[in-house]
């Protein structure tokens, strides 16, 4: 199985049906995989905080969800995390494709990516960086279960080591 197939299978095993996302090159197989499987309820949001809000509402009404975004999109959700997800104790599953490292060509991406882990740490949000297929399912499965059991969000950062990084990089890095 590919990394995106493992993620979708693990979401399914944990009854995470809602996938709210803003696209990214890296995330394409994940979003397309969810779109081609009727199990998933796919919502294309215009902003990442919108995706987080939809996941929050769905959870409270009995539908588990994940918000999927790239690192630059994570920078838009600080207020949604600090004033909705964390204080209301909502188990949002945040899946973040990591730009800005290991072959980034865009300085804006390189800088904004550095805000992700300090922001998560400052809010006390547990996060894991997923780097290889061997540990992917274990980390994802246990983290999702823990999030719902403890009613706490979790951030899962998809490293280029796992995904191969942005496919556009090869033509942009000279």
């Amino acid at each position: 199985m590919t990394w995106s197939e493992v993620i979708l299978a693990t979401l399914k095993e944990n009854e995470v049906r809602l996938v709210a996302y803003v696209p990214d090159n890296i995330l394409t197989p994940l979003v397309e995989g969810a779109a081609s499987d009727k199990y998933f309820v796919l919502v294309g949001a215009t902003r990442e905080d919108e995706a987080v809000g939809t996941v929050a509402g769905a959870y409270m009404a009995g539908l588990r969800g994940a918000a999927i975004m790239q690192t630059s999109g994570f920078a838009l959700i600080g207020n949604a995390l600090a004033s909705l997800i964390v204080p209301y104790q909502l188990p949002a599953i945040l899946i973040i494709s990591e730009r800005g490292t290991m072959g980034e060509f865009n300085i804006g991406q390189a800088l904004v990516a550095r805000t992700v882990r300090p922001t998560l740490d400052s809010l006390g949000i547990l996060h894991h960086t997923l780097t290889d297929l061997a540990t992917l399912r274990f980390i994802l499965d246990t983290s999702i279960k823990q999030a719902f059991a403890t009613r706490a969000p979790v951030a899962l950062i998809l490293s280029p080591l796992l995904t191969g990084g942005n496919p556009a990089s090869s033509t942009q890095l000279v």
Binding site: L18, G44, G53, M60
Partner: protein, 204 residues
């Protein structure tokens, strides 16, 4: 500015919120945006199906969309102010494309950021919320002409087949209630109201 907007009577949010809540007979979920929107929902009498935001300005509609997707047979109402929806106009395009038939969005439009000192919003200038919503693709978007029209629009919402957006021109009177500033309690109360609380006793 559309003719429809100029024909809309200026109403009072406290009174209209009470009017809305009195018409909720099927345990509809109500998600109220921050500030006066929230205060007036509290003032209309607490219901277990109410969710009160305390921050996350602009997210009442996305939260309500999530509730609507999770429980497609329950009516869901998002209440937002003009300043809040202007911060999150993109969500109108998302709602238009998802087409939840059980979602009603109500925008209280007084053209000001009332709670921060009555500074003008864009709708206090030339911007028309209903025109924006129609442009986003929410075909059933209407200015509320008066109280009777408000009632009639609410009665139609399940027959229309898609989401409904109402914008009401309101005055600048402050909200009357005091919100409960205890997020886990608000969340748990809402989940009990929606039948999704896992309940039970405290864990060891």
């Amino acid at each position: 500015m559309s003719n429809e907007r100029s024909l809309a009577k200026t109403l009072n949010r406290t009174a209209l919120t009470r009017r809305l809540v009195q018409r909720l007979t099927h345990q509809e979920a109500v998600v109220a945006g921050i500030g006066n929107t929230n205060f007036d929902l509290v003032a209309a009498g607490h219901r277990p199906q109410n969710f009160y935001m305390l921050g996350s300005m602009g997210l009442a509609c996305p939260i309500a969309l999530g509730v609507a997707l999770a429980q497609p047979n329950r009516g869901v109402i998002a209440l937002e102010g003009d300043g809040s929806i202007l911060m999150a106009l993109g969500c109108l395009t998302t709602i238009a494309n998802v087409k939840p038939r059980n979602l009603t969005v109500i925008i209280w439009d007084n053209g000001i950021y009332q709670i921060t000192g009555k500074q003008a919003t864009a709708t206090g200038g030339v911007t028309d919320i209903v025109a924006l919503a129609r442009g986003a693709g929410i075909a059933h978007s209407e200015w509320v002409r008066d109280e009777m029209h408000f009632d009639a629009l609410l009665d139609r919402r399940f027959e229309d087949g898609g989401p409904l957006l109402l914008a009401a021109k309101i005055d600048d009177q402050p909200g009357k209630g005091r919100p409960l500033r205890d997020p886990p309690l608000v969340r748990e109360s809402f989940m009990k109201g929606l039948g999704t609380s896992r309940g039970g006793l405290p864990d060891a």
